[in-house]
């Protein structure tokens, strides 16, 4: 969009609502004494502390670190010494300078993207929060041309009892109704939006409008109410199955659409407003015509040649027949005239 954004440590501090005080250790040499200290406390093959002997809390912390603080590609098995030191600080209740860690990690990831084509983009949520605080989201909201789909809106996963089950930390996940759900996520786009749509029952709509009027004193116009609630529920990051479904389902309808597009447009056209109609007349039809031309040529190429000739002949016949009809009519007229003349001549004779 061309809007300049500058991200410095202070911005991250503000967005993440953390203080930039505390410990920060990075680029620790492999021979550093840290290695032994961390191994004793954290490493699963450490002399005094096996992974399975670790406290449950300590097992969750690496997961928390790679999911929330210093996101990396692999799992918890391959943790660098720098990450281990970060964990060490967490476990020993020492305050870390999280904004600095995050900024450092972001810069590292960006440089990796430039140099080694790294594809992972860390801190999706943090960056989104920075955009939100900078006023970009509200600005886009004002323009009214963006939807959740355009922005690629999604929510993160939730670490809860089920996650612990997957990690084999607990044997059974206890789930309760009051647990956090992805639907609890607060939307930045829909702040003052009425939670109703034209799809709702008219009685529900009137009830909502009345209560809104009583509460706030504004009358909600029918035209303001959105047609739909904005489509499907938001995506949750990390569910790859849905992607596959989309990929599989996408190519199929393409073939069917081609042949149906032209008649569909005719059906929709009358319901469109005049301006839209004009636009529809100008743009899409040309494109569609082109497509249909291509299709017919493809279709004729696949069909036997004799059929193609027949089609051509038919059209010619139509044109010729019109012309011939006119001619015939003229000939008939003149012929009737001559017959009349002849009759008169005979009568006179």
């Amino acid at each position: 969009m061309g809007i300049p954004i500058t991200i410095i440590e202070d911005i991250i501090k503000k967005a993440s609502r953390c203080t930039n005080e505390g410990k920060f250790q990075w680029n620790i040499g492999k021979k550093s004494s840290w290695k032994k200290t961390c191994a004793e406390l954290l490493h699963k093959d450490g002399p005094s502390n096996n992974y399975c002997d670790m406290q449950k809390e300590h097992k969750v912390l690496p997961k928390l670190m790679i999911d929330c603080f210093l996101q990396k590609g692999g799992g918890t098995d391959t943790i660098s010494i720098d990450h281990k030191v970060f964990l060490y600080f967490l476990v020993t209740f020492e305050k870390v300078n999280l904004p600095r860690y995050m900024f450092h990690h972001m810069i590292w990831a960006l440089k990796e993207s430039h140099k080694n084509d790294r594809r992972q983009v860390p801190y999706g949520r943090l960056l989104s929060e920075i955009f939100y605080q900078g006023g970009l989201i509200s600005k886009l909201k004002k323009t009214g041309v963006v939807s959740d789909k355009d922005l690629g809106t999604m929510t993160g996963k939730i670490i809860n009892g089920r996650t612990l089950r997957y990690m084999n930390i607990v044997e059974k996940a206890i789930v309760e109704e009051n647990d956090m759900k992805k639907s609890d996520v607060i939307s930045d786009l829909m702040e003052d939006f009425p939670p109703i749509s034209k799809e709702d029952n008219p009685e529900v709509l009137t009830a909502y409008v009345i209560t809104h009027f009583k509460g706030k004193g504004d009358i909600i116009n029918y035209s303001v109410i959105p047609d739909t609630m904005g489509g499907a529920p938001l995506r949750v990051k990390g569910k790859r199955k849905s992607k596959k479904v989309v990929e599989e389902s996408e190519p199929k309808p393409k073939k069917q659409k081609k042949s149906k597009k032209a008649p569909k447009l005719n059906v929709i056209e009358p319901s469109l407003p005049i301006i839209h109609k004009e636009i529809a007349d100008l743009g899409p039809v040309e494109v569609l015509n082109k497509r249909t031309k291509g299709e017919t040529s493809e279709a004729t190429a696949s069909q036997p040649k004799a059929k193609a000739h027949k089609k051509g002949k038919k059209i010619r016949k139509m044109k010729v027949s019109q012309y011939v009809k006119e001619e015939n009519a003229q000939v008939e007229e003149t012929s009737t005239l001559t017959t009349r003349m002849e009759k008169r001549m005979k009568v006179a004779a």
């Binding site: 061309g2 954004i5 969750v60």
Partner: protein, 129 residues
Amino acid sequence: MAEASSSQSVAMQIETGNSYAVKPKTMRVQKEDLDVQVESSMDFVALTRQGVDITSYMLTQQLVGYFGMMNGHTYEELVKDFWVRAEVYDREAAKMEEFEKIEEDETMKGKTKEQMGLAEFTQTESGHL
């Protein structure tokens, strides 16, 4: 990036009055190929119920606000748009900028960054135009 360094409290200036110019990409990776990693939310209550209480660790780190922030939306497309155009302005980049300026104009040699019309390097930044 020079002008941006002066506005440290605000990440972005939307209402500048100037027309926006879309910045070219800074990396080979295609936007579609990027994988945005979204931070996970934590359900501390559910974890405590399972016998895993990490609240004390997070309280030491003063991360209550941070996890509150996690409970929001991620705009994947915006993040990708940002990432493919982002560049790092650090000590190295500032030095490079200085060298380029000298190469353009020999008389600049020996002058300070301010005299060259460049902003003094203060801290590492990342951003896009």
